[in-house]
Symmetry: C2
DNA sequence: CCTTCCAAGCTAATCGTTTAGCTGTATTCT
DNA sequence: AGAATACAGCTAAACGATTAGCTTGGAAGG
């Protein structure tokens, strides 16, 4: 690889002059400029970003640490992040920790060593994880989940609203007996969705039936198992299952169909997050969309503000609104109660 | 950030000694070792990988340039790559070019500047793109697609076999009138699948009906439109559509259902690639699985061999076998022809 | 004509590592 | 005892950029 030294030799100028023409950091006469540019072309020279980073103490790199890239929740976010990074001349490193906390730890270390300019951390829920992050001294923003009392840079959605919206929609369709399949309540988003479900029910003048709330996590397996459990144990069946995530809804629908129960005719199912699969699922899923691309985008934009430090030092929390997506897994059933479709 | 200099001052040893204890590159007495380690702990010191890379001329970084991370074909591959990179102490940079050739060009430049140790290039089909890659002087391996006469490092699957397998399966189910929805034949994989379809038909003693082959690309939109076209124009209907990709099959099924045609009862549909959505699609899709995670994994492993240069300088091409996945979108219909289900 | 000023371009220090080669002490051997 | 050897640990030169501050020579001013 050619270096500035090579260029300076060939163009017969000093290294400082080469640097000046490359970075337009000082006036250089047209003749020398041309000699330098010719030499650059001739040697197919590209500046060494490693050397530059060492001197400048900035690598122009941001990294995202993501729990599981195979989870369809993430690709759109990753794209949003990469797009903003690229548009600002930054490189983007993806760290997939595959739900392995040791690997999380390790990646943080690596990012310190590699001198990343900033980090986007998807799904940091626990204070101890946050402490690890703080310890790195790197600039960062949290994405999606956050620890309980966290009040610094964060981008997420209004999870409470997701379930309030769901319940409101279900009520408007005439559903009154609504089961809830919760996520892991250790996790901020699952907690908020569960709270939103309760407040939504209250807003609609409906009662939460404790016999119809099931705890689990965001996986389709959890939805599947809780459905089987409900089918086997529950004394009464709900008219609709409100699931904490689309994957949970997928699992529920699968279990329902295995038992010969039709969706939505016998029991309806409502999702949450608008997984890219949901539109064309066995039964197209009515759900709540999360603006994933936008979240990724805003996270990196916020990170840049933090890096530049221009913004007032006040940390910012950006909370995006979800939006209802009506498809086929829930259907008007008001007539059973003599209601009007309004 | 603390540096080696700080450590050497606090531990009262030379910088060389600090380096020696960190890298275990020379014997250091237990006393000094301990003094150094204490200082490292005290200052929460982490070596600066940028400085190290500059000196060592190696960044311990590989990059993947991928056409579209939102395409569900990629996340599993990306995970495979990241896993291998991580296991070997390398960092992984993801470059999503979003189907933008200008961005491809730009990312190549960035990777040269950042001194990536190697590149995995998913979906390089054209010689001119390859020339750009060669010009960087970086080590690389091609993944999935490749230009026509390319014979260097490559990891992909046997695309010809995918469609041969499909046709064989369809024939065994008793289908004889098979439509083919091809991908963009500029692309190596689409070309190979098309060839496999033809040779498969021939092997089964079936004739390719030109009126039932439609050209398009790998998108669901293409499948949708070609189905509409077929429904509107074709003089005879096939018993089954063999699609060049699962997305094409999705689009076809959507169009078929819109026209009140049942899948598989009226017309069956066969996919290709085993998209993660396919298992739970409106009608679970019979398709051919591509070992995506494995492909990503092997690509980076091959890249490491190339980087180390230990391997004989002979370039290697790894071609993985696909495998049939039987689900519900195709069904035994031999009885129509008086055949036995064997 | 001498001084002052200016601008283009250069010299050299620096960023934080690695490592070749040296120094100085202790050990071993004759 | 003196020479040879071994070896822990040190000094200093890289790696390839950036940039403060210096040099140099010509223009302007008195």
């Amino acid at each position: 690889m050619a270096t500035m030294k090579d260029i300076s030799r060939i163009a017969d100028v000093s290294i400082a002059t080469v640097s000046a023409v490359i970075n337009h950091s000082a006036f250089v006469s047209p003749e020398l400029t041309e000699r330098v540019n010719n030499a650059i072309r001739e040697l197919n020279y590209r500046p060494n970003a490693v050397a530059r980073s060492l001197k400048m103490k900035s690598t122009k790199t941001v990294a995202a640490i993501v729990t599981d890239i195979e989870n369809p929740y993430y690709p759109a976010m990753v794209k949003g992040m990469d797009d903003v990074a690229f548009a600002n001349g930054f490189s983007f490193m993806l760290c997939n920790i595959a739900n392995d906390s040791e690997r999380f730890r390790k990646y943080l270390e690596v990012m310190v060593e590699k001198q990343a300019d900033g980090l986007v951390l998807a799904n940091v829920s626990r204070d101890e994880e946050l402490a690890l992050v703080e310890r790195t001294g790197l600039k960062y923003v949290l994405l999606n989940r956050k620890p309980p009392a966290y009040d610094k840079n964060y981008v997420g959605i209004n999870n409470t609203l997701t379930t309030e919206l769901s319940v409101k929609h279900l009520a408007s369709l005439g559903y009154r007996s609504i089961a809830y399949f919760a996520g892991n309540l250790q996790i901020s988003t699952a907690r908020e969705r569960w709270e939103g479900f309760q407040s939504g029910m209250h807003q609609q003048g409906l009662k939460v039936d404790e016999a119809l709330v099931f705890h689990g996590n965001y996986t389709s397996q959890s939805g599947y198992e809780n459905t089987k459990k409900m089918l086997a144990e529950a004394r009464r069946m709900p008219e609709v299952i409100c699931a904490a995530s689309d994957l949970v809804a997928f699992g529920a629908i699968k279990a329902l169909r295995e038992s010969g129960i039709r969706v939505p005719e016998d029991i309806a199912v409502m999702g949450n997050d608008n997984n890219p699969f949901s539109e064309n699922f066995i039964v197209p899923l009515t759900t709540v969309d999360h603006p994933k691309y936008e979240m990724g985008k805003l996270a990196v934009e916020l990170l840049f503000k933090e890096i530049e430090g221009t913004e007032q030092k006040l940390a910012r929390q950006i909370v995006l609104p979800p939006s209802l997506v009506v498809r086929e897994s829930c259907r008007w059933r008001g007539e059973l109660y003599g209601l009007n479709s309004s």
